[in-house]
Symmetry: C2
Subunit: 471 residues, 2 copies
Amino acid sequence: MHPDELQQYLREVQILLARSSVYAEDGETHEEIPALVLPAPEHAGTLRLQLDALHPADIAYILEALPLEERRYVWDLVKAERDGEILLEVSDAVRESLIETMAPHELKAAAETLDADELADLAPDLPPEIIRDVFQSLSSDEREQLRAAMSYPEDSVGALMDFDLVTVREDVTLEVVLRYLRRFDELPDHTDKLFVIDREEHLVGILTLESLLISDPEKLVSEVMRREPKVSFAPGDDASDAAQAFERYDLVSAPVVDRDNKVIGRLTVADVVDFIREASEAEILSHAGLREEEDVFAPVWDSVKNRWAWLAVNLVTAFVASRVIGAFEGSIERLVALAALMPIVAGIGGNSGNQTITMIVRAIAVGQIEESATKRLLKKELGVALFNGVIWGGLLGVLAWWLYSSASLGLVMTAAMTLNLLLAACAGVLIPMLRQRFGGDPAVGGSVMITALTDSGGFFIFLGLATLFLL
Amino acid sequence: MHPDELQQYLREVQILLARSSVYAEDGETHEEIPALVLPAPEHAGTLRLQLDALHPADIAYILEALPLEERRYVWDLVKAERDGEILLEVSDAVRESLIETMAPHELKAAAETLDADELADLAPDLPPEIIRDVFQSLSSDEREQLRAAMSYPEDSVGALMDFDLVTVREDVTLEVVLRYLRRFDELPDHTDKLFVIDREEHLVGILTLESLLISDPEKLVSEVMRREPKVSFAPGDDASDAAQAFERYDLVSAPVVDRDNKVIGRLTVADVVDFIREASEAEILSHAGLREEEDVFAPVWDSVKNRWAWLAVNLVTAFVASRVIGAFEGSIERLVALAALMPIVAGIGGNSGNQTITMIVRAIAVGQIEESATKRLLKKELGVALFNGVIWGGLLGVLAWWLYSSASLGLVMTAAMTLNLLLAACAGVLIPMLRQRFGGDPAVGGSVMITALTDSGGFFIFLGLATLFLL
């Protein structure tokens, strides 16, 4: 590598380093990047030390922000024993680019530093022979956990849970619990409650750290614990339901139990926050037709693959709309103003329909709409559409009249706008409601469908009305 | 009210009641709605009891899912002393509809049940005279807190923080701290750490409950505490930066300090989760041009107000695009196929541009892109656009050739598609990057701008090329 290049990206890394820790100890954000001392190539050692001092999530942030080559260079500087935890923190796309550069023995070493639940997260990206090797090296308990964690579908509670439990018995005093805890070197992250179990490991109650701390230590666990855990999950539960419960009840951790009410794991708010963030990013990306999060520095070909499906669908719907226009070529030839006005009718219909469908899909997602509300919603949305049609359509009608000196063209414009807005409102309510009824995901592709409908529909309504009344 | 109506919505409420608690004690989701006993009108008392047993967040959920009239009926059944906490949980739109129905003395009573930070959240929706009354009834400490909380801008740490602190001194033993905690009836929600302060209330360290529990009680706080709090915030810090820090470092709570490093408040993961959810919802809604979350059962007029701005902007951009077409009316008259083909060029350009801008905006938001990367990103996106232009544009060119038996029309089609995709790629990278450079929010309205550009640009490129080479 050319020394200038190395200098250039050591500088970039320095900038990122300065920004990576979101907050300095003084509680101020790093708005200003401090003056940089450019490290000479032989100073990679300094950089290595700086990286060693960072939280794995901060290193992940730096790796994600670096272009491919620089990313690999920094990745090589990171201590091998931290590879595993950093791989967990980076996005899927970046993880792939890092794993590609690692030798099998490095991957195996990285994987072996992880807990069973973490390993399960990483497993889909690892070569099968590495998984097999790592599996051999686990204790039988851990094997069981790994097998369990990998058996749950991606968006289930089972896939998010960890196995770091602190359990106590109900027939001991709090004093005994306090002494028991002092034997730990550390408690699992996000321990805000201990799980009270009986001899057969059934969950019988919850002892919060709060009640442990504020109660008289002479008391028995059974006197202090909450017997009915407010919230517990089954591993097959939907992760988004669990996330909703965490939000609604402000939970920090919650037990996961099997059918026999045995505690098998724990869900923490950290996992839930990650899930919420990922789910909402996926929603935003899918609105724009991106299949998944993209590594911004990915090669052209990766981006093409990520985006082609949407463009293909869009091509088909645009072609259909184009054929609708094609059917009215005779009319356009006789009144060319139609060609200039028709995209307005289609465009406004599409935007209005997208407003409606976005609102309905969100309301369905948070459980605010029952099927019984369909009629009521339809009535309301048609009201909004009629209002907008008369006002905006009327305005455009006047404009068309003024531009082309034809009152009847203006009237057709207003009528077509209103009808297309009504079509958009119906579709915006019915597409997600019907999907929900037939068990589909009301969100997927709704925006494509509605745009296709209002484009073709808008052209058809406008050109059709014009052909009937103007020619 | 007609008894049938009442029955109808008591039934609706029953369904919601059955669904409201996301999880039953047995850890199973309520997939099936249990057979319902329809309450007679006189059984409102039963409903009241059922409501009393629910978590305020669950009642908020029910209220949000009910149409206006039913919502008011249920709201009247809720115990007055719970009004305050429920108002905090419902969405802004629904909160407005509930407050409208309340008498001033009810509002005042509800407000008085709240903490200063909660009151600050509610204040913008309350009539000023209520605020004044409530303010009078506060202690001077609380007044100071309320004033402080209300003075911070909406998306700052100050607006999210609460004032429920447990502080300790560093020169006492853990045993003393444990005894001190036992004097509490309860600890503030999400207490995972105590704040260690000196005589002047400066933050000198953090004592986690974990280290309190696992360490020898004979030790001094100063021996066990972490002297440099990993993360602390200033009240003026950006809430989204704070949310990123919570996500990255898996925090449960963090201190908020003023310029002199005095602890003035605390940020908890519950507030952060709410913030993340709201921010991502706002982003999704704004993509569809909805100004804010909408109460799905709001009257037509409220919806019109929420949506009109976007439609107005859209009208202007569509009108501009229409005028571009208007300028080429002569060409269209001579070759009417242009009218049918032009929306394809514009539409695909818009979609592709939206993919690019969505990706860039997201990468900027998570801090993955520096300005120095602009050239590199531009090169990559232009590569993707060129590829798509040649492949998809070529395909459409062949289709146009086949439909209209004109090879030159096909060539113009391919060239126009490619150029418009290149335009979309440039705009998709440059719009957000330039906005960030000039200190604007890279997300706002980017999608409108790019669609406007690729519509007008697409029409201009296609019709212009056709006029030059075909006529």
